[in-house]
C-alpha cells in the first residue's frame, strides 16, 4: 500500500460493499429463507450468525491483541446459562437477558482475568484453557443451579420490549440485527487507535509498555470485552434454540471458534467472519456424506496453518480493504491533517 491508497477514496466506493452486505443479510438471505421455508435452513442461518459473532469476539482478543484464548466457548456458555436462568427463574425476557448475559460473562471474565492477565503467550493460553474447563465443570456439576448434563429448557423466545419475535423470519432478523450491531462495534474497536494499542501488545508487549501502553490493563479489557460479546451470543443461542446443555460449550467448541479465526486470518475481522461462515456452512453442506464436522474443522485448520499462514484474508489485506471501505473514517488530506481513524 502506498500513500495514494491512503488518500481519501471516492465516497461511493466506500459504501458499496457494506451496502451490498447489508442487502444480502437483511433482504437477500431472508427472501431466500422465506422462499425455501424450511426450519432447518433458518436454524443454519441463525447458527452461522451466532458463530460469526463468536468468531468476531475472539478476533478481538486473539487476532488483535494476540492472546491465544482456549476457553472462549465457556464465556459463550456463561451468557447462555445467564439468559436461561434469568428467564426460567425470574421470568425475564430476551430484551433484559441480552445485555445482562453479556455483562455477567464480562464480569466473570474480569474476575478470572485479574490474576491471570500478566501471563504471556503459552501460559496465557493454558490458563484460559483451565478457566474454560473450570467453568464447563461448573455447568456440568453444579446440578442445583444448572441442572447439570440435563440442560435447561428455555421457554421464552425472542422478543423486544414485549413484542414477540418468535416467528422464523422475526427470529432471523433479530439475530441478524444483534450480530450485525456487535460486529460493527467490534470492527470499530479494532480499527481505532485503541485497536492499534492492542495490536502493539500482540507485536511486542515489552516495547508497547515502553511506549506508555498499559499492557496489563488493555489485555484485561480485550479479554473482558470479548467475553461480553460471547455472552451476548450465548443469550441469542439460549433464546433461539430453547434448550441449552453443557455440551454446547465444551473445549471442542472453543477450538472451533479458534479455528474460525485462524482459518480466516489472525488479526482480520472480515477473515474471522468468513472463517465462521466457512466452518459452519461447509460441514452442513457435506452432511449428506456423514458427520464429518469436527474432523473437517481439524483438517481445515491444519491445512490453513500449513498452506495459508496468514489465513484466507490476512490482516494486512483486510486492513487495506477496511480502509478503502471505511473511507469516511480513514482519511488523509494533502497536508495530512486529520489522517487516521476518526
Amino acid at each position: 500500500m502506498n500513500v495514494s491508497d491512503l488518500s481519501a477514496p471516492p465516497r461511493g466506493q466506500g459504501v458499496l460493499i457494506p451496502l451490498l452486505l447489508a442487502l444480502l443479510v437483511f433482504v437477500g438471505l431472508p427472501a431466500l429463507l422465506a422462499g425455501f421455508d424450511r426450519g432447518y435452513f433458518y436454524q443454519i442461518a441463525n447458527l452461522a450468525l451466532i458463530f460469526v459473532l463468536l468468531s468476531a469476539s475472539m478476533h478481538l482478543v486473539t487476532g488483535v491483541a494476540g492472546l491465544l484464548h482456549l476457553g472462549h466457548a465457556a464465556f459463550y456458555g456463561v451468557g447462555a446459562y445467564t439468559a436461561a436462568l434469568l428467564s426460567t427463574k425470574f421470568g425475564l425476557g430476551f430484551t433484559a437477558t441480552l445485555p445482562l448475559s453479556g455483562l455477567v460473562a464480562a464480569l466473570i471474565a474480569f474476575l478470572v482475568a485479574l490474576p491471570t492477565m500478566r501471563l504471556v503467550s503459552i501460559y496465557f493460553a493454558v490458563a484460559t484453557l483451565a478457566i474454560g474447563q473450570m467453568l464447563y465443570l461448573v455447568m456440568l456439576n453444579w446440578v442445583e443451579l444448572t441442572k447439570g448434563p440435563n440442560g435447561i429448557i428455555v421457554t421464552k423466545g425472542l422478543e423486544l420490549f414485549g413484542f414477540s419475535l418468535s416467528g422464523r423470519l422475526a427470529t432471523y432478523y433479530t439475530v441478524a440485527a444483534v450480530v450485525t450491531l456487535c460486529v460493527l462495534a467490534i470492527g470499530r474497536l479494532s480499527h481505532s487507535y485503541y485497536g492499534n494499542a492492542l495490536r502493539s501488545i500482540r507485536e511486542d508487549d515489552q516495547c508497547a509498555d515502553a511506549m506508555g501502553v498499559s499492557t496489563a490493563r488493555l489485555k484485561m479489557e480485550a479479554f473482558t470485552l470479548s467475553a461480553f460479546f460471547a455472552g451476548v451470543a450465548g443469550s441469542l443461542w439460549a433464546h433461539m434454540t430453547g434448550y441449552i446443555s453443557p455440551g454446547d460449550f465444551k473445549f471442542s467448541e472453543s477450538i472451533l471458534i479458534l479455528a474460525m479465526v485462524v482459518v480466516g486470518g489472525l488479526g482480520s475481522l472480515p477473515g474471522a467472519v468468513i472463517g465462521a461462515l466457512l466452518l459452519i456452512l461447509l460441514p452442513e453442506g457435506l452432511r449428506a456424506f456423514g458427520d464429518f464436522r469436527n474432523i473437517m474443522v481439524g483438517l481445515v485448520m491444519f491445512l490453513s496453518i500449513l498452506l495459508l499462514p496468514k489465513g484466507l484474508l490476512g490482516e494486512v489485506s483486510a486492513l487495506q480493504l477496511a480502509r478503502r471501505q471505511l473511507g469516511a473514517a480513514w482519511r488523509n488530506t494533502v497536508k495530512g491533517e486529520g489522517i487516521g481513524w476518526r
Binding site: 491465544l68 491471570t116 503467550s121 501460559y123 493454558v126 474447563q133 479458534l258 485462524v262 469436527n294
Partner: protein, 304 residues
C-alpha cells in the same frame, strides 16, 4: 493408626499419578528440545490404548505383548506427529527461529489441529462410545496388603512406570541419543555446531516421549477397563499441569508433581463427587501460574 481407606486412596492416587508422570515426561522432553507444547500428546495416549485394544480383540496375547504393541504404536505416532505437525514449521534451524514465538504458536495450533483429526478419525472408526476391555485383561484382581486392598493394576502400573523411568534415566545419561537430547535441550545451536543431528534428535525425543505417553494410555485403559477416543484429553491436561508445576524442563519435578496431582485427586474424591475432581488439576495449574511462576521446583523459565 491411619484409616485403611486413606491408604487405599493413596495407592490409587499413586497409580494415577504414575500414569500422569509417564505422560508429563513426554511433554517435558518435547518442551525441552523445542520449547513448544505438544497439544496432540493426549491423542498419543489414546492411540496407545487403542493399539492395545485392537491387538487384544484380534489375537489373545499376554499382557506384556499388549504393552509392547502400545509402545510400538506410540513410537510410530511420535515419529509421524513430529513429521506432520512440527517439522513443516521448522523452516530455519537457527536458535532464534527454533525457539521463536511464531514457531511456538503455529506448532501449538498445528498440534491442536492434528489432535482433533486423530480423535475424530478414531471416532469414525471405533465410534465415540466407550469400548470395554475384555474381562480377562483387566488388571484389577484384588490383592490384600495388610489392611489395604489393592489391585494387581496398582503393582503393574508402578512396575512398568518405574521400569520406564529407569530406562529413560539410562537413555538420557548413558547413551549417545540421550546425550544429544540433553545437548539440544540446553543449546540447540551449540549442539548443531558440534555435529549433533538436531533433526534426528528431535524425532527421537518425540519417539521416546510418545512411547511413554502410549504406555500410560494402555495401562490406564486396562486399569479402568474403558477405552474411548476422547480419553486422552483430560489426562493430557493433567500431565501438562504436572509439567508446569515441575518447572517445565525438569523431569524429576514433573514426576513428583504428577504424583502430587494424582494423590490430591484421589483424596479429593473423598470429599467431593468425582465430577469435580478435575477441578483439582485446573486449580493447581492456575495457582502455580500465579504464585510459582518458576514452578515448584524452580527450574529456569524463559518468556514463552
Amino acid at each position: 493408626m491411619i484409616d485403611p481407606y486413606y491408604l487405599q486412596q493413596l495407592a490409587i492416587g499413586l497409580s494415577l499419578g504414575m500414569t500422569y508422570a509417564l505422560m508429563a515426561i513426554g511433554f517435558t522432553l518435547i518442551f525441552g528440545v523445542l520449547n513448544v507444547v505438544n497439544f496432540a500428546h493426549g491423542e498419543v495416549y489414546t492411540l496407545g490404548a487403542f493399539a492395545g485394544l485392537v491387538l487384544i480383540s484380534a489375537t489373545a496375547p499376554p499382557v506384556f505383548a499388549v504393552i509392547f504393541a502400545a509402545l510400538a504404536i506410540g513410537a510410530l505416532a511420535g515419529f509421524s506427529l513430529e513429521r506432520v505437525a512440527f517439522k513443516p514449521f521448522r523452516r530455519f534451524t537457527d536458535e532464534a527461529s527454533l525457539k521463536s514465538r511464531a514457531m511456538r504458536e503455529s506448532t501449538l495450533l498445528s498440534s491442536l489441529a492434528v489432535s482433533i483429526v486423530v480423535r475424530e478419525a478414531l471416532e469414525i472408526v471405533f465410534g465415540s462410545q466407550m469400548r470395554s476391555v475384555p474381562f480377562e485383561y483387566l488388571i484389577n484382581t484384588p490383592v490384600r496388603v495388610g489392611p489395604v486392598i489393592l489391585v494387581t493394576g496398582d503393582f503393574i502400573i508402578f512396575g512398568v512406570a518405574a521400569a520406564m523411568l529407569a530406562g529413560l534415566q539410562y537413555l538420557l545419561t548413558r547413551t549417545r541419543i540421550g546425550l544429544s537430547i540433553r545437548a539440544v535441550s540446553n543449546n540447540p545451536l551449540g549442539a548443531k555446531y558440534v555435529g549433533i543431528d538436531t533433526d534426528r534428535t528431535i524425532i527421537m525425543t518425540f519417539v521416546v516421549g510418545s512411547m511413554m505417553g502410549a504406555a500410560a494410555g494402555i495401562l490406564t485403559g486396562l486399569y479402568y477397563g474403558a477405552i474411548f477416543p476422547a480419553m486422552g484429553f483430560v489426562p493430557g491436561i493433567k500431565a501438562f499441569v504436572a509439567m508446569v508445576m515441575g518447572g517445565l524442563s525438569s523431569i524429576p519435578g514433573a514426576v513428583i508433581c504428577a504424583l502430587i496431582l494424582g494423590i490430591s485427586e484421589s483424596m479429593a474424591t473423598t470429599f467431593v463427587s468425582s465430577g469435580w475432581s478435575d477441578m483439582v488439576a485446573y486449580g493447581f495449574l492456575i495457582l502455580t501460574l500465579i504464585f510459582f511462576p518458576n514452578g515448584l521446583f524452580g527450574a529456569r523459565r524463559e518468556r514463552v
